[in-house]
Symmetry: C5
């Protein structure tokens, strides 16, 4: 479980295939859960010893081995040895900064994807790796998550489609669950954008500016997970590997439609989020206009009144008004009238 | 009938092929209307029981079954069973957020498009799904609309081209009717843009800013329907499926020209709509200039007059003007002249 | 002859292939002129009856039939019947909003292009349609224009290249004449842009803003005609249709160079025209700066003088200057010096 | 030698292949120089009669015929007849607005490029045309230039690589010399941009704005010459024409690297030049800020002092300060202190 | 070791294949170090005479010859002669401005890349050239650097993967080390951007503007090294040259993932760096707003107080307040109250 901001994506200076965990370390014990199923039955196991794993491969059932937590490099290495996985695959599994990818090896398909979810108003990423072999699927989660729970329940239910099909369909179903989450995320992000836009129509302060920048960062984190996922699903669809049965292709085509739908939403979100800056700048301009109007109104009124006062402060010998009994009060009244007149004038000009 | 703004495009956590209606629910009964026609005759039926549908398939006539309303999932499912449609197709039919697509299955072509129309100054979308089989066309409408009425009338008319041709031509004709609507919509939008632009030359307030943003949203809703439609029509044209006769290809090529024409209009609309923000910002700048000019003019005049008053408010012993009989009135006159002179000056500088 | 702004590009609700004139109607009689030529001779005819047209098809000469005016749908229809043209082609001929295109039919090539010319400082479009058959070329003009006159004269001249070649070369020559006009238009537009830019350096008012928007519209009208023309000429070049002789290909390659040259000019014009908005905004900013400078200078001077006047308006018992014989005049002199000093100061700061 | 700004790129209304000179006319006599060389020897000739040219074609030597000046159409025509060149090639040679191109004819390769050089701080273009035949290379220069001098010297030197190879290598070497010049130009332009940027940090006046626009124009002139040159060199590389020997391909690949390097520099220059407008606008904003700060400081100080003066100008009976012996001087001192205090305050706020 | 800014990329006017050093000259002696290794053993040598080099080629070991420093053209030439390298390759080796490339020659693969590192807050580039022959790898460094040290240590260690594989794997490992450095650089740059952004939220002066421009320049230097590197690695991967063993391909695929990851980071950095200008401009706008608010507040208060003073400076005969014993002090008190009231008012309006 790593936050959505980029961190160094690789440990440098090591030979390729070196197993070094890159990510947030954890002390929780790694959990290995196994589901074995075919059309007739479905058995579940939880392992405590990684060495037992090899006893669970069988040719009559589909076996799904899920490893929660990849921070213990030695366990991942032992699993790699058991199933003859290439060190390059293992390196990608334990590096939680791996870019989503689908690599075909001689006897297995290796795939990395990112699950997205929202925590404390931030988008979080979790890396998920898949190893598809004949009748066997290994999945590696960064930490125990719940993205696969729906699929697990469908397997447990007798006579569902998933029970009747192979591990290629299982892998499809799990990726479909991840892509479903992307829909949730893009909807959430869209609503965040709408909220921010509404706010921007009201106030434009430096906080809002920072919020806009934060939005761009969130958008990029999302985009970095989803865009490569499209390529992965496209490779999955195009693959002519015999591990993927022809019947499953139809479902992967459907999945492609979904991921394209999502990438379109993301492009739309980008334009929306670019528009925010325009609203912000327009807002500050509008503020400036209002300040200047205030200044102009205040200046005009006070200057007019001061001029009147100034005139009657002149020292001419012959100034008839000065001699009037109520001259002073008349002038105060005149000042009131002038203020009122100017206020009415600016009101009419829609400046007030 | 859903408004043009995006809503969650998928229900999450369900197995693929699950039939769940996504859209605005309705209590109206679903209407099924059937037209059977060939060159000689044309018969019409309205069904009240979905189970009767299977009696209307025949090999001597072309059969067009139109289902108004897709909110009753059970009816769609029964139709799917009757015509052996893939659950994935049915899922797309009842999800009114499906992205326009054209999928070829073993014995039918499945296609989803969006009809656009304007209601209360907003662009509304209605999803339309097509299933093309040999001599049979199924169409699903989100709600009872009238986009197909023209085609219906042409079928009713004897010896029209449409009567002499197959259901592939019928499907072409219906899509052509939808694309015709796109022309109406882009023209409407173009006029809206022109109106907004004209307005922006006159006033620039926060309302206008919100209108510009609203326009962008409308544009995106439109674009989301039309751009994938281009791909759909292109796939329709490229398809080598035997369900589409060679003669019909010429017409689909014509249809492609139309959809390209529309997408070009949309791109042009995008540039126009992007230009609006520039006009808005220029407008607020211009406003600021005017405010500042007002302030400068007012300040200059009042300060000049106040200075004069101030001078004659000085307490020097020897100030000859103060002794003059009409000094006071002369100064008032001087003030009048100065004001006039400054006004003329600013008028000449084109500030007034 | 329709102005360059877009109007609804299609009449909706009609079956495809319906002949409905879309454009500016006219009452002028349609003119049909025929030129028959081969290397030896060149004959010209003007028809008054569309039915006579069929008598002029011959296999020993190249025949060019030019129809001026397409607003009389019945005439176009009769010509279509005479030469067995597809209704879809006829529909495009009478719709003056058709997008430039090149369609190959079984026994003819159909092509639509736009001629551009300037009238009253606006770009006008005229639609031109071509039907190329063996030894026969039909051309349809929206109204009687003169774009083809040069080619006509070359045919009349004995022993020109055009006399020795087929109708495919004639079609090339006519398209070349249209593309030559595009050069004229892009040069005209370039000069308009330069004029506007020069103006913008001097004044920036709302009129200029409207002019910039008008320029964008003109640009789009031009682009809508030229960009598809490039595709048309490219299809013309790529075409392996036997109607286009190999020798003509070399010329069409040359034509392609020209149209690419033009599209590059258009892209350059786009950047230039986008730059105008920047100049405009910079101009208003500069104006603002000048206004603010004026305000600052005026305020500074008047406030300084008023302060002096204020000081000598104080009522202290002991203010020696007030008693001086020429105190008043000294202060007036001081005010003059202060004004001069400030003016010099602002002049030195380059504010004046 | 034509300046870098675009002028009408074609004379309109003439049949294709018409030889009309487009460019800056000149009265200098056209110069024809010939170099004949092989590994053993190198002979040079200068012709005064174009008719003699045919005597210099030989099969034992490589012959390079360079024509300086293309404004005399009749001479170009005679050369065209002598070497059987297509009229379309000749038309391109005498039109100095031809877009860079590489056309393959049956027995020769025709190529047009632009040489760029700087004169009076402006980029100038000179058109260069190449006709490559077996053992023969014709080059046409707009006017006598010196871009080929280096290559000429290499030929004169015995036992250089160029002496041992054919005219295809010679053509490569000449194009390489042109591309070398592009490096000089892009470096020059880059320095101009840096100078302008530095200037913009200091002053932002309308002159600078015009300079930025001028820079865009220069950039476009440069780009119009170089981008098509990349296509030309790419066609040169891809060409499977037997006139280009396999050994020369390696060198053309090297040339391609260079032209790609240059186009990258140009793209970078574009971004830099786009950034200038941002600096300019930021500069005017900064100016405005400074003006407003000045106004605020001046206003604050004068208003404060005027208020003091105003207070002691009040006519209350009982104002003890007025009676003080040195009240007046105390107030003048107070005014000084207030001014100083405010100046210190604004200095601390970094406004001064 | 050349700084990241572009300098003339080519010496002009020389024949292709001329060996001229382009870069920063140096007087350090060139160092040649040799590592010979196979699975059994690993021997290291340091040469002082370039002529000895030929003694170290052997068919039982892999030989890696590393040349530190390329400023001595004669040494590079001698090495070129010893190993029969094409003059074009040698020209690229000694020109430190060569664009990253991968060229396949008949019996060797030639590759140029840039190593990036940070020195004094600037990105520095060092050019590295590779010549891959069977069992032999030549590497040329611009100056002695340490980018290859990790690989050197891995070779020294017995039974590492690198010892068991050929020079193609060695070349892969070295390029991998370079790409690892790119990760370090992009992370560094990302942090620089974040720092600058944070700063921009606080102050916006001309220094910041220059910093933003400096950032663009740094970005471009980085991009110019990395983007072509992607092409190089892609060519490396696609190459079907027998020098690259099949087993190594899997590793190069992994390398491609890394370089794509980096180019994505760079694109993200570009958007971030473009966003900075927006923040800067918003900042100056905000500053202006604050200045104007200050001016408005100051003006309002002083004008109000001056008006009061002005009123009691009028010379009316009958002004009762003037006669009050404590009138003067009452007015001073009034002034204090008005100031306080206005400050409270502006505080409530959030202007203070």
């Amino acid at each position: 479980m790593s936050p959505g901001n980029p961190t160094p994506g690789k440990k440098t200076g090591l030979p390729p295939g070196s197993l070094v965990f890159v990510g947030t370390p954890s002390n929780n014990p790694i959990e290995i859960s196994i589901i074995q199923y075919n059309e007739q039955e479905c058995k579940e196991f939880v392992l405590h010893e990684v060495s037992e794993i090899k006893n669970y491969v069988c040719s009559t059932h589909n076996t799904w081995i899920n490893i929660n937590g990849v921070y213990d490099v030695s366990i991942v290495e032992e699993i790699g040895n058991t199933f003859q996985l290439d060190p390059l695959s293992l390196e990608d599994i334990v590096n939680t900064q791996t870019r989503p990818k689908l690599d075909e090896y001689e006897d297995y398909i290796f795939c990395v994807l990112k699950d997205l979810y929202v925590e404390d108003e931030r988008i979080m990423k979790e890396q998920l790796s898949f190893v598809l072999k004949d009748r066997l699927l290994l999945t590696f989660q960064e930490e125990k998550g719940d993205v696969f729970d729906n699929v697990r329940n469908r397997i447990r239910t007798a006579s569902t489609k998933i029970r009747a099909r192979g591990t290629d369909y299982l892998m499809y179903a799990l990726i479909d669950a991840i892509v479903d989450n992307y829909f949730v995320i893009t909807d959430w992000f869209d609503k965040e954008l709408d909220l921010l836009e509404e706010e921007l129509y009201k106030i434009t302060t430096k906080t809002q500016l920072a919020n806009i920048q934060q939005t761009h960062a969130t958008f990029n984190a999302m985009r970095r997970a989803v865009i490569p996922a499209r390529e992965v699903i496209f490779s999955f669809y195009k693959s002519e590997n015999s591990l993927i049965k022809k019947k499953t292709h139809l479902f992967i085509r459907d999945l492609m439609d979904h991921i394209i739908h999502i990438t379109e939403s993301i492009e739309q979100a980008r334009e929306k989020s670019n528009g925010l800056m325009n609203i912000y700048i327009s807002g500050t301009n509008q503020n400036m206009n209002n300040i200047m109007k205030t200044l102009t109104i205040v200046s005009t009124i006070f200057m007019a009144l001061s001029l009147i006062a100034g005139i009657y402060g002149m020292n001419f010998k012959n100034m008839p008004e000065l001699e009037w009994q109520y001259g002073y009060f008349a002038v105060l009244g005149l000042m009131g009238l002038v203020s009122l007149g100017l206020l009415l004038f600016f009101h009419k000009k829609k400046w007030l």
